[in-house]
């Protein structure tokens, strides 16, 4: 956690109060809450750090907090980045509302964000502006609904199997 102080200062000076405090999660990875408008700038800053240079996008996913509305907006995006030079991980999170679930795409910073964002779009319905090819990846194009949302039933909406032909 001590290493985080090195770039927390830089992050805060660049992005001001869009950056929250760095807390350690249960696995010891420093987790920073950032406002959605500044998340891509934060990723770019961490990517371009001379010493650590967080070059590997380990994971990009979302959590649906529908059952806990008191914690904030509905959808939480989680970016886990890793530095192969300094052997460190850091987690960035931001919350977006369900009325307009839209955020800037990270494909400009990491090429690997392309399919990860397609999967989040497919399973949660969050749109990414600036994504080169945003379409469903796991399910077929005519599928209705976004399965990993909490209001989607586990067995599906239709009692009989809906296949792409029917």
């Amino acid at each position: 956690m001590g290493d985080v102080a090195n770039y927390m200062e830089g992050l805060k000076s660049q992005l001001g109060d869009a950056v929250g405090e760095a807390k350690a999660a249960l696995d010891g990875v420093p987790t920073i809450e950032i406002k959605p408008s500044a998340i891509i700038a934060a990723l770019k800053f961490l990517h371009e750090l001379p010493e650590e240079g967080f070059d590997l996008l380990t994971d990009l996913t979302a959590v649906d907090w529908l059952q806990y509305p008191e914690t904030g907006e509905r959808f939480e995006l989680v970016y886990l980045v890793c530095s192969t030079k300094a052997n460190q991980r850091i987690r960035l999170k931001c919350r977006i509302s369900e009325l307009n679930p839209c955020i800037e795409s990270a494909t400009a910073v990491y090429k690997g964000a392309e399919w990860l964002e397609r999967e989040v779009y497919d399973l949660f319905g969050i749109r990414f502006d600036g994504h080169p090819d945003l379409r469903r990846i796991m399910l077929w194009e005519e599928f209705e609904g976004h399965p990993l949302r909490k209001d989607f039933p586990t067995r599906g909406l239709h009692p009989v199997e809906r296949t792409p032909e029917s």
Partner: protein, 384 residues
Amino acid sequence: MILNIGPSHPATHGAIQIVIELEGETIVRADPVIGYLHRGVEKLAERITYHQFIPYTDRLNYVSCFLNNVGYVMAVEKLVGVEVPERAQAIRVILSEMSRIMDHMVCLGTNVVDIGAFTPFLYMFNVREWGYDILEEVCGARMTVSYCRVGGVSDDLPKGVEEKILKFCELTESTMADVEGLLNKNRIFRDRTVGIGVISQQDAISYGFTGPNLRATGKQWDIRRAFPYLTYDRYEFDIPTHDGGDIWARYWVRMEEMRQSVRIIRQAIKDIPGGRIISDDFKHVLPDKNGVYGSIEGLIHHFKQVMHGINPPKGEAYASVEAANGELGFYLVSDGGRSPYRLRIRPPCFIYFQAFEQMIKGHLIADLVGVLGSINIIAGELDR
């Protein structure tokens, strides 16, 4: 011309579809379509307990099932804060390395079969059968073992299995020597693999590559060294890399990794400590059967955990292992209840398949199957 390959095709390892645009026989564009094995495992996890999810992890990367078990229980152990005893960690290391050898055998066996060499496939599947014999004796099942538990492993190693594992190591080495004798200096194999399916190190890192595919571009990066887990920091092993970034480099790196795995297994068996094989924090770990049948506390702990789950504290945890294919990560978000609030599986195959178009642009159709086999796509992990 637009050609559709798959999803039912002998060379697609599993159910994947690739729509390619051809000019003559040269590939101009490729669009992989996945999702033919999407089973909704992440959604299923939200209504079952943490223990009940362990068998589902076996079915992710089904050629090396044990590595998936380890990754998942490590994430739960971080969430809950349970220490795993050293004997259990050493047993996990031995079986992980055996699973890694078996995974590389399938990957390389099917890869070279697509290129045209059938004999190494049979030799390598023989090694898998010997591995299955040992797994059956230790875990009770050939393939989908579900041997890990939160806090340790489910059963101790039976008597006499250490000699069998050492014999397995010798047989692996002799099989590898046979296969290398057949392939390494073979003109046809070299022509079909060197310079095909190249990806540069910078692109690989930008895509998020990890594992043997990244090491085949020259970057020395291994989760066992970068974020050490289990007892890996006690053993001496090298991390092989190769600068080519092509099919030959990936083949070579996997062969060398199997040698290093054999080295780790031999050291682990020599230094295996004694002691418990599962933690004694019975609030979160299932107690042993003597305790359950013999004492009232054991019975109550067992009942609470099976009926109500382990109820970890609120928070999140991410744990990853160096799976045979790369960094396999599990991200768990808990709201204090009996089921995970969100379980995310970070599959290495998903990341590699994005870069597939870049790797085969400008090559011929015959090269497509070679490249697809070398990046080791397992549909169970790709689609979950």
